[in-house]
């Protein structure tokens, strides 16, 4: 039986929202008893378990209580009801560089911040160079932090925090900071944590990130738990929730605006075929690929549009297409059908590429179904990068006259 690392047991958190905040004694005395406030439940009866070693995402839009939940888990806030149990040491990355003293040097702040996060001086001594190298601040480590740029500040904050090596890591949307290269580095570090068997609790509203690194996800909507499950399922739930709130704009529907979910057409299977199908699970760069989408329509539906979007491993859109763009209109009769996307060549290099495949109405107002499938490319060669551009080299001597 695998041990449970984090248990949230019927956690509720109430905030008192005062219409007028009376923070001084005089005001409190004057307004005693008739202090207008509203109770606001930021969290209501949230229960979940995270097994040791699992990476669990917490999905929710702004104001859904994700951050409150993380604060309760990390012990910054005390829940009004319920309790949170933890096994092992916890580090929370809620804000990078929280508690940095601008007047002190980077070096002093590293020790101070690490100690705040529960790392002993001896441990910092051992890892100091690693921390500084990760933050790429070798040159500036003895400068006062107040002279740092915001990027440097955040880098140092992250470098310290990830060196705490906790059993449970709690990450708020801190990955959205820094330049892209540093973001990738942070993500890499988090994956390293994951491979070490550390438990990660991860707050985000970026569905792609959840798909990429989480084992499971918990979906929160205005303080209540909407559900939990494997990433794909949780993301679907999250998107459905957004649609219900009329925030469907968040769904990437090529060409569509606000979409409504309608189970009239169901995708039953998506198959990815390539020359190596059956012998190896991955493609080689430049190989052809066919994505067959099999579907079932409850009754005849006019103007179906199938879409396919390929994302990079980091979640960027690499390629997006649909049958409308390809000018293949389709009116579905009731019953089963299939739509094939045939690629003559997929000139991508190493990586697992998630694909979003779906079917919608031609005006984009209805999304019938959506699936996430991934395919993998393994590059046996030695070229680097993400796209296999066709290239030839020619070297020759040019004799100067």
């Amino acid at each position: 039986m695998s041990p449970v690392a984090v248990t949230a047991n019927d956690v509720s958190k109430r905030f008192r929202l005062y219409h007028e905040k009376h923070q001084s004694l005089k005001e409190r005395v004057l307004h005693a008893g008739r202090n207008p406030y509203e109770d606001f439940w930021a969290l209501r009866h949230v229960s979940f378990e995270v097994l040791e070693g699992q990476t669990v995402g917490i999905l929710g839009r702004n104001g859904s209580g994700k951050s409150t939940l993380l604060k309760c888990v990390s012990g910054i806030l005390t829940p009004t009801e319920g309790e949170v149990r933890l096994r092992g040491q916890l580090a929370a990355l809620l804000e990078l560089g929280a508690g940095f003293q601008p007047e002190l040097s980077g070096r002093e702040n590293v020790y101070m911040n690490a100690s705040l996060l529960g790392l002993s001086t001896r441990d910092v001594d051992k890892r100091f160079d690693e921390i500084v190298a990760f933050a790429e601040l070798e040159q500036f480590i003895d400068n006062q932090v107040k002279f740092y740029s915001s990027g440097m500040y955040v880098r140092l904050g992250f470098a310290v925090a990830v060196n705490v090596e906790p059993d449970v890591l709690v990450v708020d949307e801190v990955l959205a900071v820094g330049d892209e290269r540093f973001q990738r580095k942070c993500l890499g570090r988090i994956k390293e944590f994951q491979r070490d068997g550390r438990t990660i609790l991860f707050v985000t509203h970026a569905a792609d990130l959840v798909r990429q690194i989480c084992d499971r996800a918990v979906v929160l909507g205005t303080g209540e738990m909407l559900g939990e499950g494997p990433p794909g399922e949780a993301i679907r739930l999250f998107r459905e929730h957004l649609r219900m709130l009329g925030e469907g704009q968040d769904i990437a529907v090529p060409g569509g605006a606000v979409a409504v979910a309608d189970p009239l057409v169901r995708i039953t299977a998506v198959d990815v075929e390539h020359p190596g199908t059956g012998s190896r699970p991955h493609l080689l760069p430049g190989e052809p690929m066919t994505v067959s989408v099999r579907f079932e329509a409850e009754r005849p539906v006019g103007d179906l549009v199938f879409w396919l979007s390929i994302f990079s491993p980091t979640g960027d859109l690499v390629f997006g297409v649909d049958t409308q763009v390809l000018e293949v209109p389709f009116d579905a009769p009731a019953g089963a059908g299939a739509c094939d996307f045939r690629f003559d060549s997929v000139p991508l290099l190493d990586g697992a590429y998630p694909m979003s495949i779906g079917v919608r109405s031609s005006d984009g107002s209805v999304v019938y179904d959506e699936r996430e499938v991934r395919f993998e490319i393994v590059n046996p060669g030695r070229v680097l990068g993400s796209v296999a551009l066709p290239v030839h080299a020619e070297v020759r001597a040019v004799t100067l006259q």
């Binding site: 888990v73 910054i76 319920g82 929280a98 508690g99 020790y111 101070m112 491979r195 068997g197 066709p390």
Partner: protein, 340 residues
Amino acid sequence: MTDIQTGPEAGPAPHAPAAGPAAPDDDELLPLAVRQARAALRGPKAERVVAGRVHLPSRLRELWRNRELFVFLVRKEIKVKYKNSALGFLWSMLNPALTLLVYFVLFGYFLKNGIPLFVIYLFSAMLAWNLFQTAVMSGTIAIVSNSGIVKKVAFPREILPLASVGSAFMFFFFQSIVLVAFLVVFRHAPAWSELWLLVPAIAALLLFASAVSVFLAAVNVYFRDTQHLVEVLLVAWFWGVPGVYAFSGHIHDALAKHHILWIYLMDPMTPIVMTFQRVFFNVSHAYSTQPPHALLPVMATYGTHWYVAANLIIIAVSVVLLLVAMVVFGRLEGNFAEEL
């Protein structure tokens, strides 16, 4: 189909999504069982309740576990205070020395109270009082002024007001150097045989200041007036302590006449300050510096045992107060992050 030159064709590419050690840039999730096995290698972990009421013993354990943080916070407070000033650290000694000089001139030449070496009488009191005042004033605002970390990082928050007491204690040390310098300059010997009385007195002072600071730090989060109120109260409180005036003589007699001397001595700061004077000033009666040079009672004439008993009582009471303060702090702590 595009012809891509991707180098020598490898046979079936090394594709091992399962147990094998994953390459750093592998995007496939390592199976949970493998990760769990790795987690288990790090040994058993203690389970604890992070949210909900944390009881006093575990709070104390947490504090002890974070003692290094305490040291860092004390060091930070001292460093930050004098950063960017030319004389820097020296100010912590220069400041009391200059203040003392003012008092020396004031009481020596203008407001003549007749106590010989009044500077030393006053400064022994000030030494103890300054520690208390600095600790309580910075302790009261410790949580509010560190709201940045209180809202974002989990750590035992009592450590903030306690660190204020800690750094006040450091300044106390620098100031005692000034006192020693004054003793040397005025060729005044402290009571060598009773020097050890300082140990219980300092312990009592630190414990009492900690109790007050921890309590006020928590209260100040909810009532921000506390910090202003405390400032005023401390000024008033100082006059309840024999520093600027002699304890024996008028004060003692007037209080004793109305049978309220015990109230005066109930103030924990009074016996503490008196202990400091007993050790450093050590003159119970002196001939006034003012004509007609009559014999002045200056300090209480209690014996050593009185000082020991008084300080031990304060220590015992302060320990209880500190524990009570920590319980109150624990109750109020749950909403710090939202009140700040």
